[in-house]
Subunit: 351 residues, 2 copies
Amino acid sequence: MHNMRQMEVDKVVCSSRLSRVAVCGGTHGNELSGVYLVRELLKKEKKGTEEGEEEGEKLVSVKIVLSNPWATQQCRRYVNTDLNRCFTHATLNGPMTDMAPYELIRSRELNAMLGPKGSPQAMDLVCDLHNTTANMGLCLIAYSDSDWICLHIFRHLQRQMPDIPMRYIHFDIAKEESYSLDSVGKHGFAMEIGPQPHGVVRSNIYTAMKFGVQHMLDWVRSFNSGTIFDGGFVEVFTMVKHIDYPRDSESHNIAAAIHPQLQDRDFCLLHPEDPMFQMFSGETVRYKGKEPLYPFFINECAYYEKSIALSLARKRHIAIPAIRVMTDEEQQHADQQELASEEEEEEEEEE
Amino acid sequence: MHNMRQMEVDKVVCSSRLSRVAVCGGTHGNELSGVYLVRELLKKEKKGTEEGEEEGEKLVSVKIVLSNPWATQQCRRYVNTDLNRCFTHATLNGPMTDMAPYELIRSRELNAMLGPKGSPQAMDLVCDLHNTTANMGLCLIAYSDSDWICLHIFRHLQRQMPDIPMRYIHFDIAKEESYSLDSVGKHGFAMEIGPQPHGVVRSNIYTAMKFGVQHMLDWVRSFNSGTIFDGGFVEVFTMVKHIDYPRDSESHNIAAAIHPQLQDRDFCLLHPEDPMFQMFSGETVRYKGKEPLYPFFINECAYYEKSIALSLARKRHIAIPAIRVMTDEEQQHADQQELASEEEEEEEEEE
């Protein structure tokens, strides 16, 4: 077993150049680190354009986006509906009326700007900036546990920012069903940092996000310039299930808070019979699962309305191969092969 | 000096019975400790009524109020305007139209229910429950530094809850100009507890508030039953001024966050030249005042829109006298004197 995994790690995988990267903030208008970081980057971009191109721009083109300007202006998560649930294939391609919620209209604008999702024109990488009230440190959240680009970026951030607790969270959802803005890119992830109250910006969290984005772009430039990144092992937390608050049977209001012994202990193993909630009347409610699991998004503000008090994950170690960018020749060859396979598919469909 | 103060402390002041007390929560609909505590107390009250009166009810009648039900339902601070700024004499008695903001209408309902403000019918004591995102522990906030009832309750809470950092904050504003719900009572204060993100309930903060209210009501019952409470000295923080965030001159958006060395250090003395803000571009902004002062409400979420990054206070030690409730005879005598002085005033006005 170990030898096989060692081979995976030693293998060098070639991946397409990441020419176009999007950094998005304010997808949720009250998650302020991303809002103020994007505003700061846009200011720098404007100044840079006035002063002429910088060296790094030859290696990667970066698009800075304030995703939900209306919600940001009102300092609310969203105006009509959660923008970051609007990017499924079905929602992006469903019927559209004049009475559509603002975020449905905005999701199509963003899909046109950064996608279209699933097309060759889509951004090579979308990094969407988020905050959480949970004590989660810096997390990359992605739909894949085999996207070597995302996993290598994660490993790079871990090494560059050793003082920040950092995890990779994997939501095991099919590409078709993926719903968040970052799913519009060929590669993508949410960069989620906490704890920070929504509607507040804390300097330490803002700074962690700023460095996270800088190191991510540094890695992309280094990758594009031909660096070979060694393979290795990465710890991945795969989401297993959500748990709701105990609720009042009549009013459906929550009837308990996260137990003080669980609060702020994201990614600390939760064992069967550990305290999970404290009822407002005083009693303790315990974790009744049979398997010890890792809790995260503990007491996230925005998830009260989604009936999620916390989520639970299983931890695994994943072997990732070494990686380097394709040479121009390899890229041409790959493009031709893709074109050929598409034509084949079309022929099959016609038959 | 000290002898004179010692005399103040030894003197026993008589104060009217506190027959009717109001405990209000949800004045800001997203400050959830108060919202859930009030719901829990209402549930207990309903159950108590079904099961017959409890012993303590003979000593004090407690009215439990969810102040802003509409904002609470939406989990927002307010719907149209900040309810807790609507209780000035001018606002309560100004003109009223059909198009009035919801909170203006609600403030009059609450004034009718708990006041009218300044009248003999007003509640004897109003305790209004609040949360802050600032690291302030438990604070009583009041308009007076000579309301012995409020100061004795504060001292009682300090003694009963030694593990909770506790302060008394004094907003030096004339009764006429006092704007908050607690100003409707003959005595009143806000019980402000943090840090807790708005829209979130943390078990430790909820529990601190629950015990704070219990100990407050215990003190009132003990006072009403004739206990003499010793005088002594109390530390009081009097608000001196507010400080706004550095802002972008064009957009008026904030251009900095609270400096990491100041964040969470509420009530730790801020000296001239101490770091106060960190600009989003990186530079440090220092405190330029000439006098060391005590910061509080550092990075409170709801104050971004009020242009308050933090407030500064001066600390003083106040001598409070011993206190006991008036006997029935003393109360009758006091009532007669008050009546007489009112008649005198009316005569003077007629002249």
